[in-house]
């Protein structure tokens, strides 16, 4: 079977699952719903794996396969900036290349595991079928996003995942907080989409096409022909516009605010959408647009700085959060910052590598936390946990692996990818030592808060409610098996990209090379460093991580947890961190309430002034009408009535005759007859 030409089926299978579950799922037993939901994704995974394997067999330069289904739309002629005519036409097409193959494997693979997990986790829920329908719709959108052959196809998925995120965050729609969070997520994402759509339009008017490959070629040709130059404001503009989109979807400063709130959704959703796949869409998009970003080093610098700052910012908030899912959410934001740091310094492959490893261990951590929450009867506050190690051993062990991986302990996936990013941030021409330093600090903080989570949850003395304590139990197999698979992935996935200094080949980077081929731009020469130096740097970052772990060990393992001591140890910083630097309040004050005020103000303006003008002119007309009515009545009609009145008055003698009595008239008639007879008798003589 030629899977390469069937890649368009990959997003389609989940659609089938969505339709079946959405339309008749209510009447199906839960087991069937689960099988349909997970099965559709499994089939997609099989097709993805087949397609990727066949792609891998092609020579490296031919690893780009486009399947064009039909022309989606053709909105007519347009003038490009170069004065050329082009047609704004968009194909419904799918593109499989090394980048999208990594993405579809991550999405379908981890997606499948999370579907399986959900059959266990969501088993008690009434809206089971609805949940799986949404999940499948999400899978469709996400796969369209990463498989689309042009920017608008990507945009379909981009908006589609936004919708699914909206639906899934709002899954517990009876909770107001869930509804608020869902709306917040969608609207904040929309702000990003605003930028993204402007970027896409700019791409079209610049190159006359929005096909990824065609745009890439156009950039190369333009560069070769000298019609494009590096740091052209146009490219900076496009790159920044696209990056605005990325900050929205991937929760970077300043648009990260929706992601922590998105934890209102069910935990598998947090794992799938808000950790492993959807939030990495921004990373994917920037990586996909690498040819544009390479043309705009200034924009790359912005990406790197934003990424590093986001990493630091989110990590610092994560230090003091008490909700187990919120810690992970801020961790996600922070790790995404890492990825953008990598992209910003030109290490696209490193960014994507971290995207992949992060997908494994963060999905694992979320699912593990879900397992904990499941065991604790929907208690998410870590202050009410503790000493769960022996009660839910599988969850504990897998989560420990995930924690070690994210902390960057050598031998696990996180180490390879994170170290790659830090090294590139230091060594790449676009990199800077300050960026590296930020990255290292964040690494230490990450290790600290993740171990804080681990210790607070599984060690120490139990702070669990007595009612809950008796019921704590390990989760069913449908939940633990995905955990174990993901734990294995969190270890193994790193070995795809063993760096050169460890004697590896960095296979992952090679695989992506056709996509991230550097443009022929003259830039600062790459400073060569010895492998030993690189190893030293890696050791340094590991040392920092270990220091973070030790600190957490001192604070949360050796001494039993006391909220007051924790608050005291941060001093004045604690309320700031606990309240997330008051950013939500700031945004509310600066934007949300201002927009609402503007709405109210304009509404009043509309009612009073605009409509007032209308009504005013109406009442003016009425006043005028009254005036002319007066004129008409007293002057114009007055003359008429005067004439009438005059005649009436003057006619009184005649009126006397007109009595209205029939017999009067008859009498007069008789008199007339008399006169006629009299005249006949005597008058004629």
């Amino acid at each position: 079977m030629n899977f390469l030409d069937l890649i368009w089926l990959i997003p389609l299978f989940p659609v089938v699952g969505f339709l079946v579950n959405g339309l008749i799922g209510k009447r199906l037993p839960k087991s069937v719903v689960g099988i349909i939901g997970a099965g559709a994704v499994l089939v997609s995974f099989i097709f993805s794996a087949g397609a990727v394997l066949q792609l891998a067999q092609l020579p490296a330069e031919e690893r780009s396969h486009t399947v064009r289904l039909y022309q989606w739309f053709d909105a007519g002629a347009a003038q490009t900036l170069g004065g050329q005519m082009a047609r704004f036409q968009v194909d419904f097409g799918f593109l499989l290349d090394p980048l999208s193959s990594v993405m579809i494997l991550v999405v379908t693979g981890i997606g499948f595991l999370i579907h399986v997990y959900s059959t266990g986790y969501m088993h008690e829920e009434d809206g089971f079928y609805r949940f799986f329908a949404y999940l499948n719709l999400f899978m469709f959108s996400m796969l369209t996003l990463v498989l689309g052959s042009n920017y608008l196809m990507m945009f379909i998925g981009w908006e589609g995942v936004g919708l699914c995120s909206y639906l899934l965050i709002g899954y517990y729609f009876h909770k107001k907080s869930a509804g608020d969070a869902a709306k917040k997520a969608f609207v904040v994402n929309r702000v990003g989409d605003w930028g993204l759509s402007i970027g896409i339009m700019l791409i079209f008017v610049s190159f006359g096409t929005i096909e990824f490959t065609a745009v890439g070629e156009a950039v190369r040709e333009g560069l070769a022909a000298g019609s494009f130059s590096v740091s052209d404001p146009l490219f900076i503009g496009i790159a920044l516009a696209l990056f605005v989109g990325a900050t929205g979807k991937s929760a970077q400063l300043p648009l990260y605010v929706w992601l922590p709130d998105a934890m209102e959704g069910p935990t598998p959703v947090s794992a799938l959408i808000h950790a492993a796949t959807m939030v990495t869409a921004g990373v994917y998009m920037v990586a996909r647009s690498n040819f544009i970003f390479q043309m705009a080093p200034e924009a790359m610098a912005v990406v790197a700085v934003i990424g590093a700052l986001t990493a630091l910012f989110a990590a610092s908030i994560g230090l003091v959060q008490n909700d187990i899912k919120r810690v992970l959410a801020y961790s996600t934001v922070s790790q995404l910052g890492y990825m953008f740091l990598a992209l910003g310094v030109g290490a696209f492959a490193a960014g994507v590598f971290h995207l992949m490893t992060h997908a494994f261990f963060k999905a694992l951590l979320f699912l593990g936390s879900g397992s904990v929450i499941h065991a604790m009867h929907h208690e998410q506050d870590m202050r009410k946990m503790g000493a769960l190690k022996n009660k839910i051993p599988i969850t504990f062990k897998t989560m420990a692996i995930g924690t070690l991986a994210i902390a960057g302990i050598p031998g696990l996936a996180g180490f390879f990818s994170k170290d790659e990013i830090l090294w590139k941030a230091f060594s790449n021409p676009q990199g800077h030592v300050i960026l590296w330093l930020l990255g290292v600090v964040v690494a230490g903080m990450t290790a600290f808060y993740m171990f804080r989570l681990l210790f607070m949850t599984f060690y120490g003395e139990s702070r669990v409610d007595h009612h809950v304590e008796h019921h704590i139990h390990e989760s069913p197999k449908s939940m633990t098996i995905p955990l174990m698979v993901l734990a294995a992935g969190s270890v193994v996935s790193g070995y795809l990209g063993i760096p050169l200094w460890l004697g590896g080949t960095n296979a992952f980077e090679h695989w992506l090379e056709p996509v991230f081929e550097p443009l022929p731009i003259t830039q600062a020469a790459i400073v060569e460093h010895s492998h030993a130096f690189e190893a030293g740097m890696a050791a340094l970052s590991v040392m920092v991580a270990l220091a973070g772990i030790y600190l957490a060990y001192r604070k949360y393992y050796k001494t039993s947890y006391r909220a007051e001591t924790e608050v005291a140890s941060y001093g004045a910083a604690y309320p700031v961190l606990q309240n997330k630097y008051y950013v939500d309040e700031l945004y509310d004050g600066l934007f949300v309430n201002r927009v609402k005020d503007a709405g109210v103000g304009l509404w009043k303006f509309d009612a009073k002034l605009v409509d007032g003008a209308v009504n005013g002119s109406a009442s003016l007309t009425v006043t005028g009408a009254n005036g002319s009515n007066w004129w008409d009545r007293w002057i114009v009609d007055g003359i008429v009535r005067f004439i009438g009145g005059f005649i009436k008055t003057a006619s009184w003698p005649i009126r006397l005759i007109e009595t209205g009595y029939t017999q009067n008239y008859a009498l007069v008639m008789v008199l007339g007859v008399l006169i006629i007879i009299g005249y006949a008798l005597w008058g004629g003589q």
Partner: protein, 100 residues
């Protein structure tokens, strides 16, 4: 033999009585009856002359007059009924809408 002018005097008397009735009575029924009287007076005249001139035309005209009288009586009484329904009165003076 009775001279024709006797009949004419009789007719004149009846006619004048009819006129007096029409002009003075307030009861609409009697007004109508008075009109019948006047018609009869005219008929007497017609037939007297018919007899006088030895021509049958006068009698034929009398028949037409009787026809008209019948029609007039029918319509007139219809009006009386309609008027009575509307105004609950027989008084001709109350039908004075012609006065403005």
């Amino acid at each position: 033999m009775v001279a024709t002018h006797h009949y004419l005097f009789l007719a004149a008397a009846l006619f004048t009585i009819g006129v007096i009735g029409v002009l003075t009575r307030r009861n609409i029924m009697i007004v109508l009856m008075s009109i019948e009287l006047m018609m009869n007076a005219v008929n007497i005249n017609l037939i007297a002359f018919s007899n006088h001139l030895q021509q049958v035309n006068g009698q034929i005209f009398a028949i037409f007059v009787i026809t008209v009288a019948a029609a007039e009586a029918a319509v007139g009484l219809g009006i009386v009924i309609a008027m009575f329904k509307n105004k609950e009165t027989m008084n001709i003076n109350e039908i004075d809408l012609m006065k403005w």
